[in-house]
Amino acid sequence: MATSNGPVLLDFWVSPFGQRVRIAMAEKGIEYEYKEEDLFNKSELLLNSNPVHKKVPVLIHDGKTICESLIIMEYVDEVWSGKVKLLPSDSYQRAQARFWADFSSKVYECGTRVWKLKGEKQEAAKKEMIEMLKLFEAELGNKTYFGGDTFGFVDTALIPFTSWFYTYETFGNFSIKEVTPKIGAWAKRCMERESVAKALYEPNKVYEFVCFLKKYYGIE
């Protein structure tokens, strides 16, 4: 494999985990090469770079591979430690940020159950989703961002999932926006940032993708 001068990101266009990394890189002004992966036909490069999980995103930097979106975000924050910091400098606030960023990953897992399942299990997933997002709302409070005045680690970790809300609402036949308006307002603010606007896709496109997935996996 030819060595690259800069970092390379193996990713999949609609992956919210990949989007976390894209947003982080953009916020920190890091130049990198984006490589789109076909997750239905995984490349040698992907399989060699992430043999354990065979998933995106993967960051290739200085001949080394870093996997798992939140781990990549911490790596990027530490290596490119310039002006823009994703994590705060206070240890307790960092612990809080890590806690909430970790928790945000559960939104996707829960959301997947909402669009995949039916009946009682789907109802349970819907309830869980609302409960989780209400907790995030309480944590956000009246702040502009989860990071306070500055867009940070938790904002980066959570924002990609907001473009999946329309999909969850449609398949689950419930409203997320109405019951968690502060999250909606926060998401709008985040979308005004170039890093976020460039990384995320329109909710309709996400919905189309999930419709495709349902057909592909034979889910009613």
Partner: protein, 232 residues
């Protein structure tokens, strides 16, 4: 409570709580340990971890820190000048340590716990196989991280040593219940040697329950909570 007083809400059998205790021991930090009954959660636990209602919770002065791996990183940063670092210094090495810690908790632990919860022979065999696969990958991780030294952390124990070390009692319990060798010197010799070394350490001796205690507890859980066995 004084500004820098430390308290830890834990449970004797929880590897997540045990790993934090191991690190507090290792760093020589004094703290008050408060055992929690997870079947009858205390006001204290619900107050200090309202979101997940789980152990461990580190209470530092008036601050609550939840999630074992988050707590380990907090201790690392707050007491960076006390004893050796928990996480490596180099960002790439830190990423590797974080990756394998996630793997241990997301893949290894659910495999051997899953075995103990399994009802069919097929499911049991699958979980045993998964546990062995996970340990084989961790053998490779140990080789890379230790770079020929005694521990994942090198000369002294670190993040991965306590993350995996806190599960050693449970792994042996799964071996006893299944009759299958998991930490098999033929398959994972480096890990077997590492485990022997780790178990001689003070932090391990002071915090790990005996395998007898864990086996009794696991068999009770199989009957009462997981409903995969009947009482004798």
């Amino acid at each position: 409570m004084a500004e820098d007083e430390l308290k830890l809400l834990g449970m004797w059998a929880s590897p997540f709580a045990i790993r934090v205790r191991m690190m507090l021991e290792e760093k020589g930090l004094s703290y008050e340990y408060i055992e929690q009954d997870l079947l009858n959660k205390s006001e204290l636990l619900l107050k200090h971890n309202p979101i997940h209602k789980k152990v461990p919770v580190l209470i530092h002065g008036n601050r609550d820190i939840c999630e074992s791996l988050v707590i380990l990183q907090y201790i690392d940063e707050k007491w960076s000048k006390t004893g050796p670092p928990i996480l490596p210094i180099d960002p790439y090495d830190r990423a590797i340590a974080r990756f394998w810690a996630m793997y241990i908790d997301d893949k290894l632990l659910p495999s051997f716990i899953g075995f103990m919860k399994a009802t069919t022979e097929e499911a049991k065999a699958e979980k045993i196989a998964d546990t062995r696969t996970a340990l084989e990958l961790l053998e490779g991780a140990f080789k890379k991280c230790s770079a020929g030294k005694d521990f994942f952390g090198g000369d002294s124990i670190g993040y991965l040593d306590v993350t995996l070390g806190s599960q050693l009692g449970w792994i042996e319990t799964a071996e006893r219940i299944s009759g299958a060798k998991l930490l098999d010197e033929a398959k994972v010799p480096l890990l077997v040697d590492w485990a022997k070394r780790f178990l001689t350490l003070n932090c391990a001796k002071k915090t790990l329950p005996t395998v007898e205690q864990l086996e009794k507890y696991a068999r009770e859980l199989q009957v009462t909570r997981w409903k995969v066995a009947t009482a004798n």
